[in-house]
Each structure stands twice: as structure tokens, then as C-alpha cells.
């Protein structure tokens, strides 16, 4: 069923470089990358009921592997991409096996600890990661010889990858497996009694989410042509989580909206506010305290509340 508004939106997105300046096209690329991260994280948070503060580590790890393979080993972009995806998915397999021994807050703490360890490694294993200097000198991949150095070119590739990601994640979430995932989130004991392997279901989701985070990581490193340990920081994971929560983890599209909001906020606020982390912290507080279910459902709730009071 093709809905007309979606078709228009898609057309508008595709035609973006025709009517928007380079700054906005680049911003759109950033938003799309953040959206992929948010959607993949939401598989864990919204659908799986597993809040992770370590998702950025998959994004960053893929970026580092790609950067290292292309700049240090001189590997081709294709080989580096596939290797980065494989390595990150493997990392997610291992992380998942350990972290999913726990649930709830313990799981959160383990993902946080894991991600900090990876961040610490990125900073200190300077012989490999070049520490605080980061890895630079990356050239954007050029599929089939087409250069993606222009803002528009990169944007179109990102748009294409994003659409594939969205469709894949949406299909996963809406599938029979997705239904079992939600069941595990809501009543794990009941699901076990019905014959479901709870740990396996959660682990598969964790790995799948990690895979798409890796895809976002590849786009990220190609966009920036640079990777720095700060991309693996808790702040980055927190930003991603904030995007999911701000948009509303209960829906498919919510995280996309939330990620867009956070990305735009970050870009614009850097002109006025020096301390992004502090602003991030305040936004966290505001959202969790005022509209915990997400901005859109929250505003609906608040306006209904005020509307009733006026009467």
C-alpha cells in the first residue's frame, strides 16, 4: 500500500540537493546517519526492552576498522567495508553473549562498561588507533568509480543506504520474530513457558542492531573522512539514546524524528553554545521529566491535559 504523503516525502528527499544549499544537504546526510543508528538502537530499546548505552561503540568500531584498513594497510574500500561490517558484527556477537547474561540496569551498566573500555582502547592503543590524533586521510569510497566527494553525491548514496536500512529494520520489527521480541520484552516468563529461547531472541536482536550500527559507522567515517576516539564516548551513545527516547521508542518512525531533532540541535547550537555536553544533559533532564514517552506522544498528552483544564 503506497501512501501518497510518503511518496511526496521521498521525492522531496531525493530532490533535496536541487533546492537546498550544501550546508543543508550535508546536514541531511548527518541526519540520515543518525537515523540509522537510532532505528537500530530502537530495536533494542523499544522493541526489545533492553536499554544499551554502548551502541555508539559499534558505530565507532566499524569506522575505526575501515579507517585503519584503508589508511594503514592500503586496503580497497570494498574490502575494508566488508571487513568492518564483519568485524563489528563479530564484536556484537561477543558483547551480546556477555552483556545479555543480565537484564535491565545490570545490562545497561555492562554495555556502558564495555563501551568505555573500547573508548579507552581507542585513546591509549596509540600504535594502532593513533590515540588522540585520530585516523585521518580517508578517501570516500567510490562505488563503480563514481566519486562521492560532492555533498550531493554522498547524500544520495546515504539516502539509498538509509532506505535499505529502514526497510530491513522495519521488516525485522514487523516480522513474526519481531512479535516474539516484543513478547519477550513484555512477559519474558510467559514467553519461556511458551517455548521461546529468551536469550537467543535477545542475542539475535543485539547482533542485528549492531550490524546496522556498523553500516552507519561506515557512512559516518566516509562522511567525515576522519575518526576520533570521542566518537566512541558515552556522550555519543547517550545522544543516540536521547534521539530514540525523544522521538518515542514505541514507534518505528519516532526514533528517526528524534535523531533528526538531536542532530539539528547539535549543529545549530554549536554556534551559540560552547558546551554541547551540558546542553545535552539539560535536554535529557527535560525530556525524561516532562515527556518521557517521547516528544510527539508527550505533546499530545500535554495538550489534551491543558485542553481539559481550560474547560
Amino acid at each position: 500500500m503506497i501512501r501518497l504523503p510518503l511518496v511526496f516525502a521521498l521525492a522531496a528527499l531525493i530532490a533535496l540537493p536541487a533546492y537546498a544549499g550544501e550546508f543543508y544537504v550535508n546536514l541531511a546526510s548527518q541526519v540520515l546517519i543518525a537515523a540509522i543508528v537510532a532505528m537500530s538502537l530502537n530495536l533494542l530499546v523499544g522493541y526489545g526492552g533492553l536499554t544499551s548505552l554502548g551502541h555508539a561503540s559499534f558505530v565507532g568500531f566499524a569506522a575505526y576498522v575501515y579507517a585503519w584498513l584503508t589508511t594503514r594497510l592500503g586496503a580497497g574500500n570494498g574490502v575494508a567495508s566488508v571487513s568492518a561490517l564483519a568485524a563489528t558484527t563479530g564484536l556484537a556477537c561477543v558483547f551480546g553473549l556477555v552483556a545479555l547474561r543480565a537484564t535491565g540496569l545490570a545490562f545497561l551498566m555492562i554495555t556502558l562498561a564495555f563501551s568505555q573500555i573500547l573508548w579507552g582502547l581507542a585513546y591509549r592503543w596509540a600504535s594502532v588507533t593513533n590515540g588522540d590524533n585520530g585516523l585521518s586521510g580517508i578517501t570516500r569510497l567510490a562505488p563503480f568509480g563514481m566519486s562521492l566527494d560532492s555533498a550531493a553525491g554522498f547524500y544520495w548514496m546515504t539516502l539509498g543506504v538509509s532506505l535499505v536500512a529502514f526497510l530491513a529494520i522495519a521488516a525485522f520489527a514487523g516480522s513474526a520474530f519481531g512479535a516474539t521480541l516484543r513478547g519477550v520484552r513484555d512477559e519474558p516468563r510467559r514467553m519461556a513457558a511458551l517455548g521461546y529461547n529468551i536469550r537467543l531472541i535477545r542475542w539475535i536482536t543485539f547482533v542485528y542492531a549492531g550490524f546496522w550500527a556498523a553500516v552507519a559507522g561506515l557512512l559516518y567515517v566516509n562522511y567525515n573522512k576522519y575518526i576520533h576516539p570521542s566518537s566512541l564516548s558515552i556522550a555519543n551513545s547517550a545522544e543516540g539514546l536521547l534521539g530514540v527516547i525523544a522521538g518515542g521508542s514505541g514507534t518505528l518512525g519516532g526514533p528517526i524524528a528524534g535523531a533528526a531533532l538531536i542532530t539539528v540541535l547539535k549543529n545549530y547550537s554549536s554556534a551559540y553554545v560552547e558546551r554541547w555536553n551540558m546542553l545535552l544533559g539539560f535536554v535529557f533532564l527535560a525530556i525524561v521529566l516532562v515527556v518521557p514517552e517521547g516528544i510527539v506522544p508527550g505533546l499530545q498528552r500535554l495538550s489534551a491535559h491543558w485542553g481539559v483544564r481550560k474547560q
Binding site: 536499554t51 548505552l53 556477555v98 547474561r101 543480565a102 535491565g104 540496569l105 545490570a106 545497561l108 551498566m109 555492562i110 556502558l112 562498561a113 564495555f114 568505555q116 573500555i117 579507552g120 582502547l121 591509549r124 592503543w125 596509540a126 600504535s127 594502532v128 564516548s233 558515552i234 556522550a235 547517550a238 539514546l241 536521547l242 527516547i245 558546551r275 555536553n277 551540558m278 545535552l280 544533559g281 539539560f282 535536554v283 535529557f284 533532564l285 525524561v288 521529566l289 518521557p292
Partner: protein
Amino acid sequence: MQFWIIQILNSLALGGLLFLLSSGFSLIFGLQRIANLTHGAFFMLGAYIGASLLREHIPGIDFWLAALIAGLLVALLGGLLERLVLRRLAGNPLGQVLVTLGVAFIISDACLMIWGGDPIPVPTPQAIARPLIVGKLAFPTYRLVVVGIAFAVAAGLYVLLEKTRLGAMIRAGVDDMQIARAVGIRVSVLFTCVFCLGAGIAGAAGVLGGPIFSAYPGLDADMLPLALIVVILGGVGSLVGAFIGSFVIGAIYTFGSTLFPDVAYFILFLPMIVVIAYRPEGLFGRSRA
């Protein structure tokens, strides 16, 4: 030999500081089920407060008083956080965690704004600045003192928990919140007390760690994961677990950093993985059946 003495004392001192940090975290989590991600920031804030107090050379304020003042101020901040913010999110553990994370960001950027980006050194207290010479070996006195303080605090917390009414109430609350309420324990006051205690200890610990680490931006991000690993390893809510875990992690981190500097951080991974693989509730944690 001298090298090993230094390393051992370094690791013991780190273990002691980690215990001070993680004991508060463990108590708060055990009692209120809040994973207080602000804890690292409390430590850092304490360090900065202590460092700037000492920098001014205010007559009468020596190292120990500075630590006490820092502890009290951070405890106050913790109390405000608990009462004004976390209280509203009762029953929403995820929200509480996210909020503590947000506050951690705010505090860490505020410290950057107030004290700038350069590390502020904290001078070792005069009286114990000189090493203890035994025979041909020199023992860094301050580190010995830190270990001593950690042991003293551990003993104090033990006495508090096991021998006092307040401690009994805390243990009751950790065991079963509903029943504790039902027998009349003022849970609300208890929560604030424990949160303040945990925060205060972390803040004072920040000053105590000053001569070793100084106060620098990012201290919170360095300490928090270590505390988390200690708590995960030792078992949440268990003081014994926090004690043992702290010294284990202190040792691994110190010796790891010296012997395998590049991947020391990674080595910390391993005991945590091993423990979680076999006992997800930590070495001394209670399994939540």
C-alpha cells in the same frame, strides 16, 4: 624491589579510592535500584572543590578539612538531586539512570567552564609528604594513608550496616522494600540519607585522590567505568563485593598499565567477563531469582 613496592602501593591506593567510590554506588543501587551514573562526576567535583580550596591557601583549611568540605558540598548536591529530580521518577528506573547521566554531563561541563581545561594539582598534605623509609626501601606514605582511610571507611560502613539501627533499616530496605515500609521504616528519609552518604564519600574521595590524579576534565569518565566494573564484578549491593572487587581491579589496572600500557584497559575486561559468564550477579551479589 623498589619498583614493585611503588606498584603495589599504587594499586592498593587505587583500590582504596575505587572502594570509596564504588561503595556509595553499590549502596545506592542496592537500596534504591538507581544506577547513579553521576557518581564519577561527584568524584571529580569533589576533587575540583578540594583543589581550588587548597589553591587559595585559606588559613585553617588544610588538606583534610578540604576533603571534608568537598564531601559535604557534594553530599548536599546529591541530596538535592535525589529529592528534586530522582524522587519524581520513582518507579521509572530507566528514567532515573538517564537523568543521572544527564546530570553527569552537566556537572562535567560546568567543571570545565568553572575551572578550565588544565589539570589542577592537589598537593600532598605536608605531614605525610615524605616517604616512609624502612631499611633500604621507601614507601610512599600518602598512598599508605589512603589505603588506611579506605579500610577505616570500610570498617565504619560495616559497623553502620551491621550494628546500628540505621544500618538495619538500610539492610531491610535492600532485602525487601515493601516489608520495610510496612514495618514503619521511613523509606523516604532513608533514601535521601543513603544517597547523600554515597555522594559525600565520592566527593571526599575525589580530594583524597587529588595528590595521585589531580583534578582534570575527564576524571569522571575515567573513574565511572572502573566503579561500574567493580560493582558488576563484586555484586551489586554487596559491600564485601565492592571491597574485594576494588582491590582486584586496582591491582589489574595498575599492573596492567605498567606492564601492558597499550591494552591495559582491555585487560580489565577479562575478569568481568569471566565473572559475568559464570555468575551474572557478581561474586557476592544475591541472585534475583
